[in-house]
Amino acid sequence: MSTKLGLFPEAASTIAGRVDALYLFLVAVSLFFGVLIAILIIVFAVKYRRRSESEAPEQIHGSLLLELAWSVIPLGIAMVIFVWGATIFATIKRPPDNALQVNVVGKQWMWKLQHMEGKREINELHVPVGRPVKLTLTSEDVIHSFYVPAFRIKQDAVPGRYTTAWFEATKIGTYHLFCAEYCGTEHSRMIGRVVVMEPADYQAWLATKGEPVPMGVAAAAAAAAPAGAAAAGGGEQTLVAAGQKLFVKLGCQACHSGQPGGLGPALAGVFGHEVKLADGSTVLGDENYMRESIINSQAKIVAGYAPVMPTFKGQVDEEQLLQLIAYIKSLAAPQTAAAGGQVP
């Protein structure tokens, strides 16, 4: 049995200190009110204990002033906490533009991760210290949740859509990665680690060859997965290259050639921009929009085009979808690439 008994997990991200400070403030507020109430109760219970059966205490029916005081003061404190917490949350929810991109796919019961350079990992995430890392998460089956206590971040990986999270590690080391959303039998073994490295070590690590070797539960899950899924992506290609290969293989360029008169709209520059739809509305060209347009191609029809695109549901898995989207995003004109940072 380990006998360490800390009160805080390791703080290894830029946000961790801010979360802990707010947590301590909340602890202080709680202690103040908790101790206040406890002392009042104990003091009253002793001081005003019943001394004879015939006691007839003086009746006090209330005080508007006190009622106002103990409504308004807690409300004021609550609003301070709200604003403080919302500020931190706003930071947690807005990845910096210069973040490294890592795609995360959860499945029962393993985490599959892929870096932009094409490097894959299972239940492990290697990142450089001092560099923001943006995660794009989804799930192949049920809802999972990507949780790194040392970074104070958590984000559900929801099937059928993309969610994002980001962090910037501040300390070299190895940290717990947990699945925090109950996902079935081996939920508590859907764990792994985040390895924070010197940038140079990270570059060296990226350059190493070889597919990840899953261990334990993940190994069984990987063995059960269709073999094609892993092979098709091409572990050592960059995400964009893998996506381009798929783009050609699936015949996407036949319609989305970008030439005038194509059956489908040009894809260059779509990412991060508003897209006009046939029904007059507009939609932001983000990852979720692209995902939907591939899987459920009739959901949103671009203005000026016929609804002729077949669905690619079942032909591409979650990891391949992320590769395709990485490729489509890379088609964005260079001066608009920064807009990607604003996608919620």
Binding site: L7, I37, A45, E58, G62, E67, K93, P149, I153, S188
Partner: protein, 537 residues
Amino acid sequence: MMEDTTRGTNYLNAEYGVKSWLLTTDHKRIAMLYLISVTAMATLGGLFALFVRLELLTPAGDLFQSDTYNKLFTMHGILMVFFFLIPSVPAVLGNFLVPMMVGARDLAFPRINLLSWYLYVIGAAFVLFALFTGGVDTGWTFYTPYSTSYANTNVIPAALGIFVAGFSSILTGLNFIVTIHRMRAPGLTWFRLPLFIWAHYATSVIQILGTPVIAITILLVAAERSLHLGIFDPKLGGDPVLFQHLFWFYSHPAVYIMILPSMGVTSEIITCFSRKSIFGYSFVAASSMAIAVLGFIVWGHHLFVSGQSVYAAFVFSILSFLVAIPSAVKVFNWTATLYKGSISLDAPMLYALGFIGLFTIGGLTGLFLSTLGTDVHVHDTYFVVAHFHYIMVGGAIMGYLGGLHFWWPKMTGRMYAETPAKVSALIVFIGFNLTFFPQFIVGYLGMPRRYHFYPDEFQVLNVMSTAGASILGIGYLLPFFYFFWSLRHGALAPANPWKAAGLEWKTPSPPPTFNFDQTPIVREEAYAYPLREAEVV
């Protein structure tokens, strides 16, 4: 104490035989039926909690298979939430006391009241069937698409059980609302009502407005599972997060279904054992209604990391903070009621003061969860487990046990033994804190909930928690013994053993079938302490 000790006819001895109980329409007998059934379900749920805590003694998951462990915490949650906590105070104490406190001879719809109990039993039978034919492993929250497409356990019978039991809850709420509106004794105006009635009124509003939503949601889960309708599973074209919105739209207010009635109990006990009128009557009454209303617009705080929009998160966060205000108002008013009182620390009072303590901790730690910046870290960890146990177990069960002790003489006509009752109140309070306080810490350290295996560094705190749970278990078991003992050996209870205000104390213990020999007329406010000599029967 001039009560005649030779008993006249009362609701317990008016009729004999199993049939006279199973076909009764007397709200007091139905309350007793509920008492037996919810106690049975709580015992089973407690047994599962015991297994969960035993498994968590070691990080290695060595006592059960993971599947079994997952079923244990799921069944613990389903039984405790839907079949114990939600019906506990309203269906047992509320059933017994709402008509008596308003001076009525029964609830507005006595046969519907009996139907409520049968629906509860049928719902419970479905869930027990699910349990004994293999169990359910979705967690009591039934999150999709796990529950609809991936779990291979008995989700459908459990879902149907919750669906049926929901109607029991709706009908009880309906009965209370009509009774409180239409059957108050002459002179019993709204602002003379005991706060127990206000609390049950607020609870009933939630039961009627919220429960249909969970009923239909859980039915949709069963429908998607059996008919593959695409409602929640994205592979079928559904939206898994939609389930969370629907589920918490009910299940957050459901927490107030569990806690509001206990708040009502606390108001009755605090005033009686300090012989004081409640401090700020209208604020305590209004805060119950405020909690009921606000409770409906905070569900999104369960979805801060589900990928809902940042702006939705802001709104749900600030609304969640607003619920803290009426809760704080109640705690301050109870404390102020003690001021200059004539305080006697009998067992019900110890439970009520324990309620205030545990509810205060539960409420304050709720702030950590409505705060966006900290919720991201503690969401779905043991911090949340600790928080909601402080509210739902610490709070709700302290109130329930306090009320059970307080009205036990009225319900059974017998006094329980005071000393073991005080000891058990103390053991529950200490055991509870030892069990759940370490979970706040292990949660902040990052231990996710529903973990069968866990990293070694969390073991110390888990051992503390399990040790506390064994103390808590003893505290919960003790009342079984002295309550049973009192049924045969307890001193006969006078009509008003605590010298309490309130109409229920102005009729014999146990009360006659129709509660009052003649309709009482109310001429004073609630909690008109100290009682005039003539009233101290």
